[in-house]
Symmetry: C2
Subunit: 478 residues, 2 copies
């Protein structure tokens, strides 16, 4: 905790790793590319899970669990899928002391094994739709890894649905994109752009992929969640069929969608500052920390008593509150620690506060005096709840303003290059892979997505000048 966090302006990447480790969100594991999610990081993940899971259930989904191991032959059944995932597979070749006849793949994603089961469970149109989600760990053999953002093993949820028609699968795909956007905006205070991925960026085996894209503190993009319309590709590979109302066999239309522990990296980079984390109140494991300010020995009992009374009142009001009554650390040390760990509100209670029946409340997102106010103990829980809600809104507003201020609409390729060096570029694109590739070579930026909200009409492609009918978001990305 005593170590210093590298300032963002000095080395953003180093700042990120410092924050993750010093805030005790995660740690490197002894296996290359793997991470340990420490209790504070896992508590954040539990809140993310709960907020997503509630939304999944409200939209009619059930949870289930499918095996970790997938026969190698399954992965090979869908052509694009195997091409996309082959380089990233971890393979079990030995079990119980013997070499296996068929190697087992540690799931990188579960379309194939779930497709195999759906083929057995689905018989008739009456069985549709099937709306299942799985919370699980997955493994992708990544060479360059970063805590939360890209790790060999990560935790996620993967929804897998089967429908009678293209239209229903497409409706589901966009519904879950909306669920992700709603979660990002209203729980994580992260503004996102909903859009379609380009052909070259879509999921291996999908008809069409959609994503939500967010801008990080260094103005780079992060894909925070994806939703795929898989068409009939997996249904045909795994023979997922149903008897329709006319008693004819039809292939199902399937979708899949996922959000992962990567979202934690997103929250860190959207909101964090040089003091460390700033967690959105809706998801913060600890929303309020109470720090007693020592007075004389005679006052000590009264101060701790007042702290505990406040703690209980807040807790009873549904606020996630912690009283830091450790003797071995000074208040200043505690202030730094809880700022580093991003706790939204700090309450200080000293001898004068006890007398005056008041507390000092400091907002994590407003430095120094600006964020400090006195509040009477009477009615404190309501006032704290309101302040948390206000802070949540302010965080979203600030992140939106930051993104908008760094999103450009360049009119020619020279200013386009300047734009993607400094943030997001919204630009007309003809859809040609060649133009995408030229951008990547020239600027390292990629097509993030083609926003669902379009201006309409057409204009020349920012690269080649050919008629373009859509605007895309371009940026360098994580």
């Amino acid at each position: 905790m005593a170590e210093k966090i590298t300032p963002r302006s000095q080395d953003y990447s180093r700042w990120y790793t410092d924050v993750v480790q010093q805030a005790q969100l995660a740690d490197y594991a002894p296996v290359r590319g793997c991470m340990v999610i420490r209790p504070y990081g896992y508590a954040l993940w539990e809140n993310i899970k709960a907020a997503l899971d509630r939304r999944f259930k409200e939209t009619g989904h059930e949870n289930a669990y499918f095996p970790l191991f997938i026969p190698m032959s399954f992965i090979q059944k869908e052509k694009e899928h195997v091409e996309g995932f082959s380089p990233e597979l971890a393979v079990v070749t030995h079990g119980g002391g013997k070499e296996l006849e068929e190697p087992l793949v540690v799931r990188p994603t579960s379309e194939t094994i779930i497709g195999h089961m759906y083929a057995q469970w689905i018989q008739s149109y009456r069985d549709l739709p099937v709306l299942i989600n799985q919370w699980a760990n997955v493994v992708r053999w990544e060479l360059r890894t970063r805590l939360f953002l890209r790790t060999m093993e990560f935790l996620w949820q993967e929804g897998h649905t089967a429908h009678a028609t293209y239209e229903e699968a497409q409706e589901e795909t966009l519904r879950m994109l909306d669920v992700y956007a709603d979660f990002a905006i209203n729980e994580a205070a992260v503004p996102v752009i909903k859009g379609r991925k380009s052909e070259s960026e879509k999921f291996a085996g999908a008809l069409a992929s959609y994503s939500i894209e967010a801008m990080m503190g260094d103005k780079r993009a992060l894909q925070a969640g994806t939703s795929h319309n898989l068409g009939q590709n997996f249904a045909k590979a795994f023979n997922i069929r149903y008897l329709d109302r006319n008693n004819e066999l039809q292939y199902c239309w399937t979708s899949s969608w996922g959000m992962s522990t990567r979202m934690i990296g997103c929250i860190i980079m959207v909101h964090g500052d040089d003091q460390g984390l700033i967690l959105p109140p809706q998801l913060a494991p600890i929303q309020v920390v109470i720090v007693p300010i020592p007075g004389s020995d005679a006052e000590r009992g009264a101060i701790l008593g007042a702290c505990d009374t406040v703690r209980r009142a807040l807790s009873d009001h549904g606020v996630r509150v912690k009283l830091d009554d450790r003797d071995e650390y000074s208040p200043g040390w505690k202030f730094n620690e809880w700022e580093l760990r991003g706790v939204p509100l700090r309450i200080e209670i000293g001898p004068r506060d006890v007398t005056k029946e008041q507390v000092v409340v400091a907002r994590r997102d407003k430095p120094g005096r600006e964020g400090k106010t006195f509040m009477p103990m009477v009615g404190l829980p309501q006032a704290v709840a309101e302040l948390l809600s206000q802070m949540q809104q302010d965080m979203l507003r600030r992140a939106t303003e930051f993104r908008d201020a760094n999103t450009f609409e360049p009119q020619d390729y020279e200013s386009f290059k300047e734009a993607v060096a400094n943030g997001f570029a919204r630009a007309w694109w003809c859809g040609a892979v060649a133009c995408e590739e030229r951008i990547k070579e020239d600027t390292k930026a990629t097509t993030r997505n083609i926003p669902l909200e379009q201006p309409g009409g057409s204009a020349p492609c920012i690269v080649c000048g050919a008629p373009a009918h859509e605007v895309a978001i371009f940026a360098r990305a994580y």
Copy 2:
């Protein structure tokens, strides 16, 4: 659903598999020994998780997540541990298209990798105790597998704690045994015997292991949860040390404890009957199902309206309720299905009930007329909640009576053999491995545990006649 369940008396093992599959709790996966937990089974697991997780947090534990992959060298660091787990390991030898320098083991349990991390996190007595739990999947290469009871991959929680003294580690070990027993008794309605495992049955690497043991419907035993005092074995293997108050380096004392999806198998076998599952109300995904009894076309609207009113009233009262308003199935068919799936209470509402403002309530655990009562719609939620609570108690009482009626206290070896052929035997045991082994050879029964509650005194060992100071539970086990 239309298939018939094999009666228990005919083939208990077949009955079990029929129930698991037909109630749609789980299904066989395409990978040998693996299972798919279907939504209904997973919803039961979610309720088990919530009930356990609440208890873990109330006793001061936090959740975290450690990697799936463990370097082979870690497993080999603790001598007994490697001997115990080597035959069961699944091994990843290839990643990202290349052969790995060091093979990775898919975790069979996480003492080693967690021990490695604790060695880095723990410096001083101020860092102790460390009280962490993990919800995870683990893999053990089992040859003979059965859904939920013994599968190659299963879901579980594993608690791992580190302490300054033997006493604290032992206190934690027994505290968590109590937590498991409390969960089993008060949530799963499963009476359990808390006790110490014999030396030959203890966890590979533990100083002492403790278990809760339950009697299944076929009078065999099932170990439903274990808690281990690991002594300093793992601390020494992984160098988990702390500076004590005198500034001297000391090895920590660690514990671990786990409960798994096996508990679902336990619940099925303790409570199920020839009609299928009977789920304890506390854990049942659906506590009450409402089945409309069709009248004339003119009455249809009023009946469905009443059903929905009742559904909403129960749901508002916190009851997990489902209205089965499917047209394509008859009431009789629905009764069978929900009995098979073990829903505690069924509410029937027909034309006469609407007129009389009453409903018929049928208890799953009491067959036919005996379990049926009329209840007025006014005050129904309270009455239903009481009935659920009553049923929960009755299920525990019945399971306890069944166990006690089939637990014997044989006074000589001949009657001992008869006892373990027909249930549990409580008998004096000298503690010698030779006696344990003779019992196993003669009867297939094993030492389940040495109950914490002991009569005191001593008596001749049931096998060899040498002085014995403890009574043990012997039974054939899953």
